[in-house]
């Protein structure tokens, strides 16, 4: 009865990342650890980073949330692992949304970008308002 399957909003790989999130959990003795929440729904995502010679050597995320926020975080950690911080700095909102590959309604944009916010605020120590849209 639904068009949800037809328009591929919940694509197989998003559901896969939701059900089997990559790099999920905590790191012992992380170099950076940061959490952000989505005030709309109270969902939380946190990330732990291990940095060596300016490279993200290891990364884990934790928290709870919807399929969009969890899949987005899982995809982002896959991409960040082994990436130099300088390169990670260049990851944009458009990159994250592009990787999800689905049309995100305005109400759900914050879900999709929550993990990017954790990355930016946590890893770069940016003031929170600099990453607000």
């Amino acid at each position: 009865m639904s068009s949800a399957a037809d328009d591929q909003f919940y694509r197989e790989y998003i559901l896969d990342h939701y059900k089997n999130p990559r790099n999920f959990g905590r790191l012992e003795h992380p170099d950076i650890s940061h959490e952000e929440d989505n005030p709309l729904c109270g969902d939380v995502i946190g990330m732990d980073f291990k940095i060596h010679d300016g490279v993200i050597e290891d990364i884990r995320f934790h928290g709870r949330g919807c399929a969009i926020s969890q899949a987005s975080a899982s995809l982002l950690t896959e991409r960040l692992k082994g990436m130099p911080l300088e390169e990670a700095k260049k990851i944009s909102k458009a990159d994250v949304l592009g990787e999800l590959g689905i049309q995100i309604s305005p109400a759900r944009i914050k879900c999709a970008l929550l993990s990017l916010k954790v990355l930016k605020v946590g890893a770069y120590g940016l003031a929170n308002d600099e990453v607000e849209d």
């Binding site: 639904s2 328009d7 909003f9 729904c41 919807c66 759900r108």
Partner: protein
């Protein structure tokens, strides 16, 4: 005047949902609207009354000596009498226009609260309360050095009255609670709680945001000191709400907002204030919205609040049963007989946002989130729930469509 003509159109006499829905043009879009605890839909009679004001007698109230301004003033004040009757207040002097429940509670917190709460005082609220009936008291307590205690809930989502009684023994200055929980639909035993709190010497504010639209309310039988509610949850427009207060309390309170229309005389040496209720209504008011709210009250009276409640109970029982039959679905809160038309639930493995998005594809409007009740969500151990809420226009077919969306979500996430 086709629009104005419809404004005088008769309200269906018998409780006929199909006929009622014809008064709500939004249903022509094909949506299943299950978010009336958030905001209700509005019948043509309400929007037509507002358009009639805008197009035929738009003018400011209480100021001008010409005919259209007199009509505007008359109709604006007529709503006050309609509200007085709806909630059975003793006088229209006890009916203060606000923008909504939040402003009404803030008015009490700032005006009564700043004058009456002092260091060491206790304010009692409940875990079922909406943020709008928690945060103003937290701010007041922080400012005055008072403290706030919360009545806990039991496993059915009902207030723990034993703990409430214990808190009353500590002599709270103020007790504030909602008559119906917006998040769980729990109907609190308000008259009993007010009587206990009054016996303990407390001033009592009841948040009526979810009760006034859905069941008969009698503030004098209830016995509370303040009762706040919103127009937009009871068929009226946004921007118009009501604070009821007992006259002797309102008389003694200082103004909240000040400015034009709330004064008697202003001299450079000082000002004397207008009498009730206008003392609390500074500046140009939401005239069209108040007139619209009057039309909403007419509509509700045409149906009868007992009939509204009876219809919603039928829908709630139907939905409660339909949802409870779904594997992996947990309903929060008490059984239908002790709840209003609100059902909060969780689906195993499916986040409320994802359900809301999938339901939206089926044009089913359902709320996902913390429902402005984060302390309650924390108590339940969840970040958010899905919530379906009903009103006088809700039909079983809309509940069936929600069940279809839930099954679709379960198929996608299986």
């Amino acid at each position: 005047m086709a629009v104005a003509g419809r404004a005088q159109g008769a309200t269906p006499k018998k409780f006929d949902v199909a006929a009622i829905r014809k008064d709500f043009p939004i249903f022509e879009t094909g949506i299943a609207y299950l978010d009336s605890a958030n905001t209700s839909q509005r019948p043509r009679q309400v929007t037509a009354a507002m358009m009639d004001y805008f197009e035929r007698y738009n003018s400011n109230i209480h100021r001008a000596a010409y005919a259209i301004a007199e009509e505007a003033t008359e109709r604006y004040e007529a709503t006050r009498e309609k509200i007085r009757g709806l909630i059975n207040a003793a006088s229209t002097k006890e009916v203060i226009y606000t923008r909504g429940t939040t402003e009404g509670i803030n008015l009490v917190a700032y005006s009564w609260g700043r004058a009456n709460i002092s260091s060491g005082d206790l304010i009692v609220v409940t875990l079922l309360d909406h943020h709008s009936n928690i945060v103003p008291w937290q701010l007041l307590a922080a400012e005055k050095g008072a403290h706030v205690e919360y009545v806990d809930i039991d496993e059915k989502g009902e207030l723990r009255l034993d703990q409430f009684a214990d808190l009353l023994k500590r002599g709270p200055k103020l007790v504030a609670f909602n008559l119906i929980s917006n998040a769980l639909g729990t109907i609190n035993p308000a008259a009993q709680m007010v009587a206990q709190a009054k016996a303990a010497g407390a001033t009592v504010l009841v948040d009526g945001a979810q009760s006034t639209p859905h069941q008969p309310v009698d503030v004098r039988a209830l016995g509370c000191d303040f009762y706040a509610f919103s127009g937009h949850k009871m068929l009226g427009p946004t921007g118009a709400g009501i604070l009821y207060g007992r006259r002797e309390l309102l008389e003694a309170m200082p103004p909240f907002m000040s400015g034009g229309d709330m004064i008697k005389t202003v001299r450079t040496e000082g000002t004397t204030f207008h009498e009730l209720p206008w003392k609390f209504e500074a500046g140009t008011q939401a005239i069209a919205e108040v007139i619209g709210l009057g039309a909403a009250v007419d509509y509700l009276n045409g149906l009868g609040m007992d009939a509204v409640r009876a219809h919603e109970l039928e829908i709630t029982e139907y939905a409660y049963e339909a949802l409870s039959e779904i594997a992996g679905l947990t309903v929060y809160g008490p059984p239908p007989s002790r709840r209003a038309g609100v059902i909060s639930f969780a689906l195993a493995g499916i986040h409320p946002h994802d359900l809301a998005t999938i339901a939206d594809r089926d044009k089913v409007c359902v709320r996902a989130g913390h429902h402005c009740a984060m302390p309650l969500m924390t108590r339940l151990g969840v970040a958010a729930t899905s919530r379906a809420s009903f009103y006088l226009y809700t039909q079983k077919d809309e509940v069936d469509r929600l069940v279809g969306s839930i099954k679709e979500a379960q198929r996608i996430f299986s």
